[in-house]
Symmetry: D2
């Protein structure tokens, strides 16, 4: 029900992707052709890791309940900083409350998480799912979203040790709980997880008709293919973006992530692998 993007690579001003491309995240907040909703005006958030931060340093966050499109602080901030790994999200809420604690990304220690999609009939599931969260983590749940509960469930299931397995088991837990309520097709979404070094981007839904997700093509190849495209040459050779829908119409620039797949971005590695809730 939202749009998001995640970047990893050479340090970059987030504004480059959030504001300055043709179908930037902010442009998508006003009009997202591939989105379930076309307007994503119910707040936004940015989480970013520092340029020279030691591994394990918590990222910074900026959350706002205003629409992203005319937000002056977003513009200022994303031009003032540079980050080698950042996540940004524009929200389309199914219902109130619109509050900063419902804005993605969510943070736990040095981990970030964000989500596009939803858990069906969440208000019926909320109590049971919150009970399944590690009691130590319970006080950290501050908002009312399904996404925040799912994140803490994934942490409960070991996301910090193994993000793919942790999220997979959390999703499986949600599916089993939903079964008990007679709720079908409960999980729908794309998810981004990072520890500041690696970025995991998931596309998954219980019935296999997930929200769209794309990753950018290899930048060195793109720059070779389009030697005169100035915008492309603002990026470093390792730059990668994962995003709800393509940021530009450039042929070959964005590649769809298949259903039930996780894309892994790392300074030393880029690969995709099947992802199943287990």
């Amino acid at each position: 029900m939202c749009r998001w993007l995640a970047y990893a690579g050479e340090p970059l001003q987030p504004s480059t992707l959030i504001l300055e491309t043709k179908h930037s995240l902010v442009a998508q907040s006003l009009n997202s052709p591939l989105g379930f909703e076309t307007v994503n005006g119910d707040g936004f958030g940015v989480g970013w890791y520092g340029k020279d931060a030691a591994p394990g340093t918590p990222p910074a966050m900026f959350h706002s309940i205003e629409p992203a499109w005319h937000d002056e602080n977003l513009r200022e901030l994303t031009q003032a900083i540079e980050s080698p790994l950042f996540l940004a999200h524009v929200r389309a809420a199914a219902a109130p409350p619109i509050q900063q604690t419902n804005c993605h990304p969510f943070r736990h220690g040095h981990w970030l998480f964000m989500h596009n999609g939803g858990l069906a009939h969440f208000s019926r599931l909320r109590r049971d799912l919150m009970l399944a969260v590690d009691p130590e983590l319970f006080p950290h749940i501050r908002g009312t979203t399904d996404s925040e509960v799912l994140f803490h469930l994934a942490v409960t299931y070991g996301l910090q040790e193994d993000p793919i397995r942790g999220l997979g088991r959390a999703i499986r837990h949600v599916e089993k709980t939903a079964d008990g309520f007679g709720i079908r097709d409960v999980v729908q979404g794309t998810f981004a997880v990072s520890d500041g070094r690696t970025l995991w981007a998931f596309r998954y839904s219980t019935v296999g008709r997930s929200r769209t997700l794309f990753h950018s093509a290899d930048m060195a190849t793109l720059q070779e293919t389009y030697p005169h495209n100035e915008k492309l040459h603002r990026f470093g050779a390792k730059a990668r973006v994962v995003v709800s829908e393509p940021l530009s119409d450039l042929p070959g620039a964005f590649i769809e992530v298949p259903e039930s797949t996780v894309t892994v971005l790392d300074p030393d590695d880029f690969h995709t692998e099947p992802f199943l809730a287990d």
Copy 2:
């Protein structure tokens, strides 16, 4: 660049029109098919006259910079009050700042004013137009919109004595000022003005291609035509709405206001007449 509606008639909960019809003003804030912009999420406002208020009593106002669609205060408020005459507006700003002082309607004494459209190249005209405002009124201009300056210019030109003539002369002043800057087609808009008893709704642009405007048909006739339409029977016989685009698809319910026309609603009278900037 916005959407608005104005109601006059028997006291009514504003939520009836703002929230509960198929194409209610709040529905239009998310998606207005006839609008210049389809999203009107840059704040909103309601101005309403009291049910038993003495003539000349200033109306109350509620302004917010949040999008209207999920605003809980708007929902609460417009269900809690009843008013025989109210104006409501959802804003699509061309640019920041998004602030309450830029939300319509604007108030002067017991007068309300709101506007959909704009003055072309307003930043170049702003100083000259503000200088033309009565110096006594100058301190009352608190925001940055063209609409607020135009309203105070109309008050300067006698809106309180004769709203049609006052607004006409103010618009003419703007057109002459724009000529001096080589700016063409400067005024574009629909305007609502009220003193709490009468509602004037204008459709006018310098070149005669104004934003759309509609008024509702005679309610008694509508109710006779649709005897089983429960929603219609919530309205009194004198109920009239003027609105940027129809609130429903009911055939015959909404009639377009022609170009360069003012519609006058009064407890004892309803008529339209030509409107020209003079």
Copy 3:
């Protein structure tokens, strides 16, 4: 950690008490001499029952995260309405988040609840207390405050059938839970509860050193005592206020509510009785 007032009597503009007295609630938001904190700028709320509403009609609410002192909507709204029974609250948060879902009063059906004070070490107790809430009510908890959880616990314990007993049992539950964690002196506060007809105002803390609470003296007597006090003559004969600290310095106008006491205001009755968590 807050300031509140509740009014019952002849229909009254809430602004009379919230804005226009010497030590009005808004004045107290900036400077409350008897308060635990002197500044209560972390949002505010008003809940009001309609003038002609049928018994059992839910009250309306207005919540904002801005400080009350310069809020223009609060000023407009509380002058535009009249209500025979309203609650108003200015918040001093111990910590973020500052969000509308954390603003008092809270509503359940046609019941309102607000609180000044707190539950000690609430983050350690939160999970256990939320589990004790009726699962049907669980999805209605939208914020992060101890007050909202306590309210839903009181509803769980029958507040709607017997408010004094319901709140008493809920507080007792909290005290027992806290004992299990080795937390002493857990409950601290003054509480207001209403169903739109009767107002219950409680002063209670686990160790008997509660926040201050006052009720106004009999209005007919006051008006007789001060025949030339114009402000007093704006009130009807049945007007009563309960408030965290006196709204004026008028000798005899405000009477302290004793420790462990509940004050009951009703169109036909006014009395106080001992209140103990049982």
Copy 4:
């Protein structure tokens, strides 16, 4: 009517001064013993120059209408960045509107400006003062504060060529205009101006009873005097703060800026000189 601080020296996390000292700016926002008002909760702002920015690069800004004390974005942001020169301000408004365009600091090109104090009877002077602003600058005035108008008047009078002379002449213009209205003692304040390299901090009022202003003592000397004070050793040898009131109680740490004086901080120089409106 506000509190502010300005820092110049080795790159520093702004949170060090804004959040983490005993009488930090945020602590002062809740309680400023030397302030004209004790509460400064009507929004805040930070303007900062980049660590490696080329001379002439505009600074970034963050403005919010929330009180500073519980603002999570302020906390995140001021810990995430480092800056060799930043200005921060907490506002106490005499009246609404509370909006981002009224938050200090104000920016013009690569210049920043902020102000504590006010122009007496500004609403009567506003039109004349705005007319005296260079017409090219007029469209840049977006809020309703006296401070923003004074800044643009100072730019009109050459602040970018000579800040001391530019502000002096602007203040003199205000004083002359006020004389014409029979307004005495019109200017009251402390002012900070920077171009990213140098910081000018002024203390001036028409009648010579200005708001307080302090600058920190030479850091190397302080560190020598207090060899075991860990907090002091977080600062570089060139670190200097100018602030409305001392950030700590450390004897010798803060020195009052005399009346009608400007303090000039520069990487190569620190001195004070008399300042008079001319």
